[in-house]
């Protein structure tokens, strides 16, 4: 099993996953072979920032500002979301 993500991780989508607008159904999705993840507003806000350069802490800070919510709480939610996607093989930690 790979190392769990932390606040210092710099998450990125894996090479075979693609973030895409599904115009026919007016939603955002992540595509991978034989898999489709439908994103809600928060998941899209998180994943669209997963460039491999921003850390989880930075992403949480940005979202805190955008959604006007306490950063501590957001950080836990962001981490849980990303860890779940990492376990599903969609997100990985960009090696420094």
């Amino acid at each position: 099993m790979s190392a769990p993500l932390s606040a210092d991780s710099r998450p990125a989508l894996v090479a075979h996953a693609r973030l895409q607008r599904d115009t026919a159904r007016e939603r955002w999705v992540v595509q991978a072979p034989e898999r489709l993840f439908v994103l809600d507003e928060v998941a899209h806000a998180v994943l669209s920032r997963c460039s491999g350069t921003a850390s989880v802490a930075q992403i949480a800070a940005e979202l805190g500002a955008e959604f006007d919510a306490p950063v501590e709480e957001i950080r836990g939610d962001v981490l849980a979301l990303l860890q779940d996607l990492a376990d599903k093989g969609i997100v990985r930690d960009q090696p420094a």
Partner: protein
């Protein structure tokens, strides 16, 4: 009578079967036993139009398959067209007709992902199943070339009585080849696979051992290797939602341009299939006889009609109902509620216990 034609959700994926031509002869091959020749195949422009239409219709992915899709010299152009249509583009290949330079061209054309099949974890058995000496060694080279170009790789292995004991080795091979995903698919009995069923059918004990191996490996390799496991039907208690439900998620275009709800649908007598030469994908999807016929639940008989799983598995597989029950409208005999289920299990037990008959290789007349 048939399912409703209003408010139909568009398909999520297009399966583009570019050709039936293939250098291999896998006895499990799901292609029809009556294979289309090159002269029947759609030309490049027609395929490009199919890709564009699929994107407009709302499909998100295209699986480019066959036969061996690399037998088409216009594969690069078709990949480019698929990407231009906004489709996530997956190449499903035996690898045989590819090389490093062509993989690079495919990547440059926008290919997102390669799914490479292997017939076994070791060359002797693999080549015997593939019907070609040296095939396995070529595939290992191609797997390395896929990764060297930076394309993501899924390894696909169809498992059956001759290779099912090698599931742990197939998992190890996927890791060695740096695949991000492994698909272990129990052979489904369509096309050549149905003709070879007795030579392919595993015992229940073999199946359970393989399932346990996959479960353990999934836990061990979480975050490192995704393992998709396509379970077999004959020993199941409930059927799978075949194709995610008839005409709900997938649309298939066959080499000759026929538009199908599933790649085996042509075995069902009395269905009319539209063709891209005369019908749009949108029209076929919403109104085509073959699509409307088994969409939804209106067509169902008992026990499905009043079953609470009817919108979970959509009554299972129509082609299997036809193959076993002789009636495409019947409940899938893989379901324990089918009157034919016990006979199906007995048949699987009998075939798997007997000495395997010789393979009837794809493309040979025997």
């Amino acid at each position: 009578m048939a399912g409703s034609t209003t408010q139909v959700e568009p398909p999520l994926a297009l399966l583009a079967e570019l050709t039936h031509r293939c250098p291999l002869r896998c006895p499990y091959c799901s292609n029809p036993t009556a294979l289309e020749g090159r002269s029947a195949e759609l030309p490049t422009e027609a395929w490009l139009d199919v890709m564009a239409q699929a994107g407009r219709l709302g499909a998100l992915q295209v699986h480019i398959s066959g036969g061996e899709p690399a037998a088409r010299r216009d594969l690069e152009a078709l990949v480019q067209g698929a990407r231009a249509a906004g489709l996530y583009t997956n190449l499903i290949t035996s690898g045989l007709l590819l090389d490093r330079a062509r993989l690079q061209r495919l990547k440059d054309a926008g290919l997102d992902h390669v799914q490479l099949s292997v017939q076994d974890s070791e060359p002797v058995g693999a080549d015997r199943i593939a019907g070609l000496d040296g095939a396995h060694a070529r595939k290992l080279e191609i797997a390395a070339a896929v990764r060297a170009t930076g394309l993501p790789l899924t390894l696909n292995a169809v498992v059956h009585r001759r290779n099912i004991a090698h599931v742990p080795d197939l998992i190890a091979l996927a890791l060695t080849l740096d695949a991000a995903r492994l698909e272990v698919a129990h052979a489904q009995y369509y096309g050549w696979g149905l003709a070879n069923r007795a030579a392919l059918m595993p015992t229940r004990a073999q199946l359970e051992a393989a399932t346990a191996e996959v479960d353990a490996a999934r836990a061990r390799l979480k975050g490192r290797l995704v393992i998709d496991y396509v379970t077999p039907d004959y020993y199941a208690r409930r059927p799978k939602a075949c194709m995610g439900g008839w005409a709900r998620r997938f649309m298939v275009v066959a080499p000759d341009g026929a538009i199908l709800p599933c790649h085996a649908a042509r075995t069902i007598p009395g269905l009319e299939f539209p063709n891209v030469r005369s019908t749009t994908l949108a029209d076929a999807w919403s109104h085509g006889d073959a699509f409307v016929r088994f969409r939804g639940t209106d067509w169902m008989q008992e026990p499905c009609r009043s079953c609470d799983r009817r919108e979970v598995d959509w009554g299972g597989c129509r082609c299997q109902a036809l193959a076993i029950a002789g009636d495409a409208d019947a409940v899938d005999p893989a379901c324990a509620l089918s009157p034919l289920h016990e006979a199906l299990v007995a048949l699987a037990e009998r075939e798997s216990a007997g000495a395997p008959p010789p393979y009837r290789y794809r493309g040979s007349d025997a």
